[in-house]
């Protein structure tokens, strides 16, 4: 059998996608849990299988990473509505000027996104500095009909929405869309009004049903909540390598670290 070829974390998605029949096969592990791939042997008994090696363990195993059902020590929950992070702050708190593109669902949008490796090796380099502005590929606005399956509030005060296709769609696919924490009034950010309105629409939905918006851990919604989302595209350079965003239960069906970030408008249906 061919020897396992070591690949770095960000190369795994590309490696998986290149294997015949594996790109969208159900039952695949989360991309960032893959440690190596042993390709099918040219002949013999090993020809029938590709072995995908992972670092996944049963949660009860000694040394298992923290996973579903095991919450580590979480940072304190953020207060107020202001953005409390720094990574790519300039992009997260701005809305592209591009004309909006309509997409029928998340999968249709994902198919138009530049490849992960291209963005990781982007020239000029995409940095995670607070001043890091949108690059050309991110200068897009989208409008999409989708469903919120899960959401959490991050310590930078962004709401992470795990947005997917219709629950009746044959291929489950999700991506992250974020309601940014707000820029401070004193910064006179031109996006403030839209960011504030989008965030208020999300909070109002929960207020109207007498429930709290999500906290640091993910809440899931069943059936998923139908929404129309408008926003700008964003490549999450901070998590392009290593652990990817998303709740462990859905991560294996989140093929990109591209996000809609910030959400500029949200309509609950």
């Amino acid at each position: 059998m061919a020897k396992a070829k070591k690949k770095t974390g960000s190369e795994m998605m590309a490696a998986l996608a290149s294997l015949p029949g594996l790109a969208n096969r159900p039952g695949l592990p989360a991309p960032d849990s893959i440690t190596s791939i042993t390709p099918a042997a040219p002949s013999g008994p090993g020809a029938a299988f590709t072995i995908i090696h992972t670092n996944e363990l049963d949660a009860y195993e000694e040394g298992a990473p923290l996973g579903p059902g095991v919450v580590g020590v979480l940072p304190a929950a953020p207060t107020g509505d202001n953005f409390q992070g720094t990574a790519r702050k300039a992009s997260k708190l701005s809305i592209s000027n591009a004309a909006p593109e309509n997409f029928k669902d998340v999968l249709a949008l994902i198919k138009t996104l530049p490849a992960h490796e291209k963005m990781v090796n982007h020239k000029p380099k995409i940095t995670t500095a607070a001043t890091s502005k949108r690059v050309k590929e991110e200068e897009r606005n989208i409008r999409i009909n989708a469903f919120i399956y899960a959401a959490s509030r991050e310590d930078d005060n962004d709401f992470h929405l795990i947005v997917g296709r219709s629950p009746t769609a044959t291929q489950e696919t999700y991506m992250t869309m974020e309601l940014s924490g707000l820029p401070e009034e004193k910064d006179h950010n031109p996006a403030l009004g839209q960011l504030k309105a989008a965030r208020a629409a999300f909070k109002k939905f929960f207020k109207d049903i007498g429930k709290n918006p999500p906290g640091l851990t993910y809440d899931f919604y069943h059936p998923p909540i139908p929404v129309e989302i408008h926003g700008s595209l964003f490549f999450d350079m901070s998590h392009a390598k290593g652990s990817r965003p998303g709740p462990p239960s859905l991560k294996s069906r989140m093929p990109v670290v591209w996000e809609v970030h910030p959400i500029s408008k949200m309509i609950f249906k």
């Binding site: 960032d32 949660a59 990473p65 923290l66 579903p68 059902g69 095991v70 919450v71 580590g72 020590v73 979480l74 940072p75 469903f147 399956y149 899960a150 959490s152 991050e154 310590d155 992470h160 997917g164 629950p167 489950e172 999700y174 109207d208 049903i209 007498g210 429930k211 640091l216 851990t217 993910y218 809440d219 899931f220 919604y221 069943h222 059936p223 998923p224 909540i225 998590h239 290593g242 652990s243 990817r244 965003p245 998303g246 709740p247 462990p248 239960s249 859905l250």
Partner: protein, 77 residues
């Protein structure tokens, strides 16, 4: 003997039998910490609270303090 604590409410977050884990987009069963049923207009849906977080948000819990080996009180034979 059971005592009631004044001012505290028993949580309503129970895992209802109707939670269908086989539906797409559901969390892993052992991450579910509670379920609330919500009515909004004509629709009814469930908010399923979990212990799931983005992996990079997690900080490993402190390891338990190491036990010092006890001085042997048993007689050596």
């Amino acid at each position: 003997m059971k005592t009631k604590t004044a001012g505290t409410k028993r949580t309503k977050k129970k895992k209802p039998a109707s939670l269908d884990q086989l539906e797409p987009g559901m969390p892993a069963p052992d991450s579910v910490t509670g379920v609330e049923e919500v009515k909004t207009g004509k629709r009814t849906f469930q908010i399923i609270h979990t212990s799931e977080v983005d992996q990079y948000e997690q900080v490993a819990p402190k390891p338990p303090p190491k036990k010092r080996p006890r001085k042997s009180q048993t007689r050596k034979r």
